[in-house]
């Protein structure tokens, strides 16, 4: 089974069912399928072949959904990039993946035009909402679906070992790594998750998370897999609006991250927005506090709450069955269906229940590796129990209780989790070192009530260099990094603590 066939199957079964609701527009399965096939034909006409990378650089919306389906249909590999990404990083992603196609929104022109100026691999850039304007780069053409002409589409010979998607994730080295996921990987993950959540065709799933984030992406994939209706929101910027939409559409499933739930709980009038249809709330990316768990259950007593833990490298790892929430509220549960997880010691030996060690994952959901990064891949994918198979080393330390339920302890690397997104301190430090006058920079995460962790930078400037304001440093970072990566705090110090070998020592910074 190929990933897009999950969707096509639903379109065949119930062509007239509403598949997608976005900003009060409704699209049936048949309509979406037709649009995706049409775009796939355009991509083929532009020379896209099996295995080529098709990058989307779009806000949540009709086009982001259609683009993913279309890329898969023509045998290409879709690569969603967060629209908050700045031009230098976008150029890096396009170059690193050697993308053939970029699908971007016209509002992001300053960034994608800047990125294209440093890229040669992209031969076609489809611009959404382009108003027929002339583009500085001759590779840019308007998003083609408005004219409605039908083109010939040739089904490619894709198999489930082919790549379906590449999702970039922050790495401790500072260079984002492309997680390669096959059709088999993604179909397996979607099936396992929708099975334990018990998703059904009559579910209405709201998605406020960006589709460039795999948690958001899988809401689309799973909704289409089970033939449900997806209510897609651009963001969670205006919680009242989202709540109104959720009530109107009688949403049954609400996936969020702790920051989303914090924003929700901060609303004084939350109780005036009852959501009687809500059946399931899911949380991942970072742990919910026990207080938030209590409040959510109090507000939505009829909804089941799922605490989950995942990694882009295998999508989801664990979930806590809701009936265990009272017994072990701080556990992220156990492995999901059709997946085996266990803890290992430093030597890679399997540990019994009640131990602390690195979590490893075995299953069809485990990635194929990091794109073009064999050394990074070898650190995470290691031989498993059966000859020839690879298991994923999560890089996260967990402990288990006597019954094998998992509790997060710490990361092995220094990645920060802010708003549920991974932030590589190295990536931020690299940007800071690019600022004129900066001598040394060290970035850490500090606790934050809404963000989980906030990014804090310690910076030393050259002697006699006019020191900028905190705001100027933050703005400089915002010009290079996604907003969730930019420091919230900047501390100016005369000197940073160093080890004997001259490396900056972060222990003790706060």
């Amino acid at each position: 089974m190929l990933l897009h066939q999950l969707f096509e199957e639903s379109a065949r079964r119930k062509p007239d069912k509403v598949a997608l609701v976005f900003e009060s527009a409704r699209y049936t399965y048949a309509q979406l399928d037709r649009m995706a096939t049409q775009l796939a034909a355009v991509l083929q006409q532009r020379g896209v072949q099996r295995g080529d990378r098709v990058t989307t650089y779009l806000d949540n919306g009709l086009e982001s959904v259609v683009s993913i389906c279309a890329a898969l249909k023509c045998g290409a590999v879709f690569m969603p990039v967060n629209p908050l990404t700045k031009k230098d990083k976008l150029a890096y992603l396009l170059n690193d993946s050697r993308a053939s196609v970029l699908i971007a929104h016209s509002a992001l022109q300053a960034e994608f035009a800047g990125a294209l100026a440093h890229n040669r691999s992209v031969h076609t850039c489809l611009v959404v909402d382009s108003d027929g304007a002339a583009w500085p780069d001759e590779r840019c053409i308007p998003w083609p679906l408005a004219n409605g002409e039908s083109l010939n589409f040739t089904e490619p010979a894709t198999i489930d070992q082919d790549l379906a998607g590449i999702i970039y994730t922050s790495g401790s080295t500072g260079d984002p790594k492309g997680v390669m996921l096959t059709h088999l990987n993604m179909v397996s993950a979607a099936r396992s998750i929708s099975t334990y959540l018990g998703l059904q065709h009559d579910d209405v799933i709201v998605c406020v998370l960006p589709l460039a984030f795999d948690y958001g992406l899988y809401q689309v994939l799973m909704s289409f897999q089970v033939g449900a209706t997806l209510v897609l929101e651009r963001s969670f910027s205006f919680p009242v609006k989202v709540l109104e939409t959720m009530a109107r559409e009688q949403v049954t499933v609400f996936p969020g991250v702790p920051t989303v739930f914090s924003l929700l709980m901060a609303m004084k009038t939350l109780r005036s927005h009852p959501l009687p249809s809500l059946r399931k709330i899911t949380n991942t990316a970072a742990a919910l506090s026990e207080e938030h768990i209590r409040q959510l259950r109090d507000l939505f007593p009829h909804a089941l709450l799922y605490s989950m833990y995942g990694l882009t490298e295998c999508k989801r790892v664990t979930y806590l069955p809701p009936d265990q929430l009272d017994i072990r509220p701080t556990s992220v549960g156990r492995g999901m269906p059709n997946e085996e997880v266990w803890l290992v010691d430093e030597a890679g030996q399997r540990l019994p229940n009640g131990s602390t060690g690195e979590l490893v994952i075995r299953g069809s959901n485990v990635m194929r590796g990091y794109w073009d990064k064999p050394e990074e891949t070898a650190k995470r994918l290691k031989p498993g129990p059966i000859a020839g198979e690879m298991i994923l080393h999560s890089g996260d330390i967990f402990r288990t209780d006597a019954e094998g339920y998992l509790y997060f302890v710490a990361r092995k690397d220094d990645i920060i989790k802010s708003r549920g997104e991974k932030v590589s301190p190295r990536e931020v430090e690299n940007v800071l070192y690019g600022m004129a006058g900066v001598l040394d920079a060290a970035v850490i995460g500090v606790p934050d009530a809404v963000l989980g962790e906030a990014v804090k930078a310690f910076v030393t400037f050259k002697p006699d260099w006019p020191r900028p304001s905190e705001r100027e440093v933050i703005k400089y970072c915002l010009s290079k990094l996604e907003p969730f990566m930019a420091p919230k705090y900047v501390a100016f110090v005369d000197e940073l603590p160093k080890t004997d070998t001259g490396k900056i020592k972060k222990t003790g910074l706060a």
């Binding site: 700045k86 509002a107 963001s235 205006f238 009242v240 004084k268 915002l478 907003p483």
Partner: protein, 82 residues
């Protein structure tokens, strides 16, 4: 109350404009133009409350009030005593 748009624009340029390159018109959606992201709107609300001395109620946190300079201008005028 003359300079609501100028004051809010200055605040946004100072705090959100990434690298100072992006420009936006008075009726541009901050969201669509990627001027402000979700946590940015919370900071904007705090700025409005501190500057104009009223409380932004939950139900007023909607694009119609906050998602462009024109909308903010009209909203602040409605909320402020004459």
């Amino acid at each position: 109350m003359q300079d609501i748009k100028a004051a809010v624009r200055a605040y946004i340029v100072d705090n959100f404009i990434m690298g100072g390159e992006a420009t936006f018109k008075d009726n541009d959606s901050f969201m669509a133009k990627h001027v402000i992201d979700s946590t940015g709107f919370l900071e904007l609300v705090t700025f409005l409350e501190d500057t104009y001395g009223f409380v932004v109620e939950d139900d007023e946190m909607v694009p119609e009030n906050l998602d462009s300079l024109d909308n903010i201008d009209a909203y602040v005028r409605r909320k402020s005593p004459a």
